[in-house]
């Protein structure tokens, strides 16, 4: 479903350039659960942004569901983000003035979905993350775990093909983190492709596949690298 080939992302920095991603080639099949791990500054987030059509590769091809999307016009990429891609962020990014329900309705608001259907679908999404009783609470009345579950409900309410999570538990205590991961994995079991950026090895352990990034380049898992060095 996701196919990156020779993707580079460089930023001009003063006189020279910074290579955030170097020649990354990666395929993710539908329904997979992939963890992207690597130290800070290794390019995990940049990769996630490119996968989420928030950023464009400087060089290389990005095919999403069989379509080259790296060079699509902004309008079509917005549509793609709206309908096919869900985001979950470390800092939740819930709008403080809206209730959990209102936040979950937000993507449908911009999707032009009618009010009644918005309400119904948001209710269902909130139920699926076990947050229905807290639907009328604003983010400042929710715990961290509840906020992240509301954010997950928002990310899946448009029935995306893939859910991209950037350190979804990075700001949570262990109990909340487990709760949130439980929700994400349950969705993955129902067929949602899941890409999780983390530097928590425990979290990465839940994934079917772990992709390591170092200095913007894919690397094998440490033991693989180690064995290469030994050989």
């Amino acid at each position: 479903m996701i196919d990156l080939q020779g993707v580079w992302r460089t930023y001009p920095m003063g006189e020279g350039v910074v290579h955030a991603l170097r020649d990354v080639s990666l395929s993710i099949a539908a329904g997979e659960h992939v963890a992207l791990i690597g130290p800070s500054g290794s390019g995990k987030s940049t990769l996630l942004h490119i996968l989420g059509c928030l950023d464009r590769p400087t060089q290389g091809r990005y095919c999403f569901e069989g379509r080259e999307v790296g060079s699509l016009p902004d309008g079509e990429r917005s549509l793609l983000r709206r309908n096919r891609i869900g985001f979950v962020f470390q800092f939740f990014h819930l709008l403080p003035r809206l209730t959990a329900q209102g936040n979950v309705e937000l993507p449908m608001l911009f999707g032009g979905i009618a009010r009644d259907e918005r309400r119904e679908r948001a209710t269902r999404a909130l139920a699926s993350v076990g947050l229905l009783p807290r639907a009328d609470h604003r983010p400042d009345q929710l715990s961290g775990g509840e906020r992240q579950r509301a954010a997950i409900a928002r990310a899946v309410v448009m029935n995306p093909a893939v859910l991209l999570a950037d350190e979804p538990t990075g700001n949570l205590d262990r109990a909340s983190a487990q709760e949130v991961m439980g929700v994400l994995e349950a969705m993955n079991r129902q067929g949602l492709t899941l890409v999780v950026v983390t530097h928590d090895p425990v979290l990465a352990g839940h994934a079917q596949r772990v992709v390591h990034l170092t200095d913007g380049a894919l690397s094998g898992p440490p033991e693989v690298l180690a064995s290469t060095v030994e050989a």
Binding site: L54, S78, L80, R81, R82, N83, F89, H93, L109
Partner: protein
């Protein structure tokens, strides 16, 4: 994205910053209210003048002796003939004129017993009452009939009567003007001062022939005539001019119509009103800059929100519209509030000065609401465009 949803989203965002919203709404409201109030004042002044003329009779033709022209050059040329009672009689026979009244005027001292009061004394005929649309408080006006009859009737303006008779009934009393004696036949109803500088409440009216003799005049001060049909104004004017030209064998009178004066006054005051509105709209521009400032702060403050909206799939035009809607709502609310404040201000003015017909003209209501809308859109575009140009990655990176 449906319009209602867009508005709902924008209103939600504005409610998140009540104080800031209230202040920018107030800014626009002040601008709109001042535009409306000043326009109402200008319009009031215009209507005041126009009403004043209408009270004098708007279908009047006024004939003055003498011609506005350059004299000299030709020896003994440019002789001005008197405007006489015979001229008046000839004019009175013109079909297009319904009524004509000759006028002579002088300031004389009116005496009753030992009281004296200096007032303008008008010599005229019975027609004057109708032409100037005067009302009587008591008695009758000058008797109708031949203008050449030198009667001794006098009609007093309301204040002249009050001052001279101090509560006594003036009807039938004798008053003296110089050596002549008159008997009071009527008192006019109060009229109020005229902007044209002539206070009929102070005046006294006597038959024209008597007045000419008394003031030792051979020429009339002017002749006022009422046109039968308003549309015939210009023709009546040229007929009167032609008649007098023939009688005097020279064009030595000036004929003007009340109508022309009203329209020129009206035009001048209309321009004044526009000027006032223009000055007041400066405050609207200031309010617009205020909206722009608030929206820029809002865009900077809500970077994360904008980034999020982009990540959720809001297209750039939608984000532009959402922020533009906020600015427009601010301006429109300000416009409505300004309309309410302006209207009540003008009403208050009406209560304090009941005689001044200050009123907000309908065009000003439409114009100011349109203007406030344009201010919102105009000053909202730039901040909204900044919002759409935000890089979502950078916008989301910050908390």
């Amino acid at each position: 994205m449906a319009l209602l949803d867009l508005l709902g989203f924008a209103i939600g965002a504005l409610r998140g910053h009540r104080l800031r919203t209230a202040l920018s709404v107030a800014g626009v409201a002040i601008g709109i209210a001042s535009v409306l109030t000043l326009t109402a004042l200008g319009e009031g002044a215009r209507r005041y003048i126009v009403d004043e003329f209408a009270a004098l009779g708007s279908n009047l033709v006024i004939i003055l002796p003498g011609k506005v022209e350059t004299t000299g050059g030709v020896p003994f040329g440019g002789v001005t003939h008197d405007l006489t009672l015979e001229d008046h009689s000839a004019l009175a026979r013109l079909g297009r004129l319904r009524r004509t009244a000759p006028i002579v005027v002088a300031t004389e001292t009116l005496r009753f017993q030992d009281l004296g009061r200096s007032v303008p004394v008008l010599g005229t005929t019975a027609e004057y009452l109708e032409i100037r649309r005067l009302n009587l408080a008591s008695g009758s006006f000058l008797p109708p009939g031949d203008p050449d009859r030198a009667g001794t009737e006098i009609v007093l303006g309301t204040r002249a009567a009050q001052e001279l008779f101090r509560g006594e009934n003036p009807l039938g009393q004798m008053v003296r003007v110089g050596p002549a004696r008159f008997h009071v036949v009527g008192v006019l109803a109060p009229r109020g001062p005229s902007v044209l500088g002539f206070d009929l409440d102070e005046a006294a009216f006597v038959p024209v022939k008597t007045a000419m003799r008394l003031f030792n005049r051979t020429s009339l001060f002017r002749i006022v005539a009422e046109v039968r049909i308003f549309a015939d104004m210009d023709q009546a004017k040229s007929e009167a001019l032609a008649l007098l030209k023939e009688r005097h064998r020279a064009e030595d009178v000036t004929v003007y119509t009340q109508d022309a004066m009203v329209s020129s006054f009206s035009a001048i005051l209309g321009a004044l009103t526009l000027t006032l509105a223009g000055i007041a709209s400066v405050s609207l521009v200031v309010a617009g800059v205020g909206i722009m400032n608030v929206m820029l702060v809002s865009v900077t403050e809500r970077r994360a929100e904008i980034g999020l909206l982009k990540a959720l799939g809001a297209a750039d035009p939608q984000i532009l519209l959402a922020f533009l809607a906020e600015a427009t709502i601010l301006a429109a609310l300000g416009g409505l509030l300004g309309l309410a404040v302006g209207a009540s201000g003008v009403r208050l003015l009406g209560l304090i000065y009941p005689d001044f017909p200050a009123a907000i003209p309908p065009w000003a209501v439409g114009a100011s609401l349109t203007l406030s809308f344009l201010v919102g859109v105009g000053f909202g575009v730039w901040p909204a465009r900044r919002a759409t140009r935000l890089d979502p990655v950078a916008a989301l990176a910050r908390r």
